[in-house]
């Protein structure tokens, strides 16, 4: 087992541990911390696979943006008063069977064909050259999508205020 495989194993373990925490806990701050652990694990996996730009973007967009948004929304719809607010969950055998089935299916299909990646170190300017070169259309479409999402959020939130 090389140092790279070891690093990959560690980051994947962090990811799975964070994911398990996100699913199992019913306490708001612990859920957010677990989700943060998972997202940082994803960033670390990108870093190990040789793409620092993806890792930093993951931290920027997810830990700094989406995760704060999740915690913000959770805090907004609850009062942090004397009672400890729980995240409502109904653990259910059928759901567990389905999730296990998905896991077995994915692991059985992908496991044998997907060898562990050898890291390819990518400089950010190469990524920029791709984004503004061959995949320029996709890049511009993402810009349009983000604008649409921004306007959608504004319309949804303002519309809610009127009524």
């Amino acid at each position: 087992m090389s140092a790279n495989d070891l690093a990959l194993a560690v980051t994947v373990t962090v990811m799975v541990a964070g994911a398990a925490g996100t699913v199992l806990t019913s306490d708001v701050p612990r859920l957010v911390i677990s989700l943060g652990t998972f997202l940082l694990g994803v960033a670390a996996a990108f870093l190990v696979m040789g793409s620092p730009l993806l890792a930093v973007s993951q931290v920027f967009v997810y830990v700094g943006g989406v995760l704060v948004l999740v915690l913000f929304a959770l805090m907004m719809v609850r009062r942090s008063g004397d009672e400890k607010p729980k995240v409502a969950t109904r653990h259910d055998l059928g759901a567990a069977v389905i999730a296990l089935g998905v896991f077995v299916l994915l692991a059985a299909v992908l496991g044998p064909v997907a060898a562990d990646p050898t890291p390819v170190v990518t400089a950010p300017n190469e990524v920029g050259a791709i984004l503004l070169g061959p995949s320029l259309v996709a890049f511009e479409l993402v810009g349009v999508l983000l604008l649409a999402a921004l306007l959608a959020v504004l319309v949804i939130v303002k519309g809610g205020e009127d009524s």
């Binding site: 930093v56 973007s57 920027f60 008063g81």
Partner: protein, 315 residues
């Protein structure tokens, strides 16, 4: 071995921030006193410099109160999550020609991305206090910090566009003196947005000591409170160093050690200017704060970015 070096650098960064915070408190008291025509600390040592040594044991020996109602483990460690990202962000600041403690190829984004983890620490500490005042203060701080991140990142982006690199040392190599007039608007936006990011006056309404009993950290005392304060001064030091480097040229003005001295003096001037602003301007209202961010700073930063982009085409 790499791990050990990383540990040592981390320790160095924490000591740097902590020491800077202790000096910063003394300096701020002197600056504030001068603005208000007082003398400030003067009993201990010349001009009260020994006051900073007296302050540290005072904070260390204060009782560490954890409210009964609080979510204890998170309440205890959330301050670290506020402080650690700020100490980490110092790592990518270029201090010397071709040298930064962590000379990453994506250093500029790293600098902008990591302090945003601190927002999470603020929200968690506010939530774990189980106190309505703290929760509201935390949400206001988070809203403010997330919003001001936008103009701040856009302002830094204009320098990145001019330099054509995300690596701080390469940005410094590419830096030219005429970038100062060219990116002046960007620098002002960066400066104002940084003040808002570190929750300092006149944008300190999430914590407003006198009115809101310190917002999100109202339940903290003793050394855990001091960690928040250190984080705030750390953000001030880090933002000033970064601004002095990428916007004002840092060490590029003079060769060798003299360049480092110029860089540090520029950063000190920025730190003092932030304190000056804090003790001069009255506090904004929450809606004014948000309106200012989205209708003044963000459009200005976008215009600056367009100008920088057009110039970069002819570069």
């Amino acid at each position: 071995m790499t791990f050990l070096w990383g540990l040592l650098w981390g320790l160095a960064a924490v000591m740097f921030i902590a020491g800077g915070a202790v000096i910063g408190v003394w300096w701020e008291r002197k600056v504030a006193a001068r603005i208000q025509m007082r003398l400030g600390p003067q009993q201990l040592g010349p001009a009260g410099v020994l006051q900073m040594i007296a302050d540290v044991p005072k904070l260390l020996f204060k009782e560490d109160i954890v409210p009964d109602n609080a979510d204890k483990p998170i309440f205890r460690y959330a301050p670290m999550a506020v402080f650690a990202p700020i100490a980490m962000s110092v790592a990518v600041i270029p201090f010397w020609a071709g040298w930064a403690p962590l000379d990453s190829t994506v250093g500029m984004v790293f600098y902008l991305a990591f302090p945003s983890i601190g927002v999470l620490g603020i929200l968690l500490s506010a939530w774990s206090s189980h106190n309505t005042l703290a929760t509201i203060g935390g949400m206001r701080a988070a809203a403010q910090m997330v919003s001001y991140e936008v103009p701040r990142s856009l302002a830094v982006l204009s320098v990145i566009v001019l330099a054509g690199s995300l690596q701080p040392t390469e940005v410094m190599d590419a830096w030219q003196w005429w970038w100062i007039p060219l990116t002046f608007v960007g620098f002002v936006v960066y400066f104002i947005a940084s003040i808002a990011e570190m929750n300092r006056g006149p944008f300190d309404l999430p914590e407003a000591e006198s009115e809101l009993v310190a917002g999100y950290f109202s339940d903290y005392s003793g050394f855990r409170w001091a960690i928040f304060m250190m984080g705030e001064y750390g953000a001030l030091i880090s933002a000033s160093l970064f601004g002095a480097a990428v916007f004002l040229g840092g060490y590029r003005w003079l060769p060798g050690v003299a360049g480092l001295a110029v860089f540090l003096v520029l950063a000190m001037v920025l730190i003092t200017a932030v304190m000056w602003i804090k003790w001069t301007f009255p506090r904004l209202r929450q809606d004014q704060l948000m309106t200012f961010c989205w209708t003044v700073l963000t459009p200005l930063a976008i215009v600056q970015l367009v100008v920088a982009g057009v110039v970069a085409l002819w570069l």
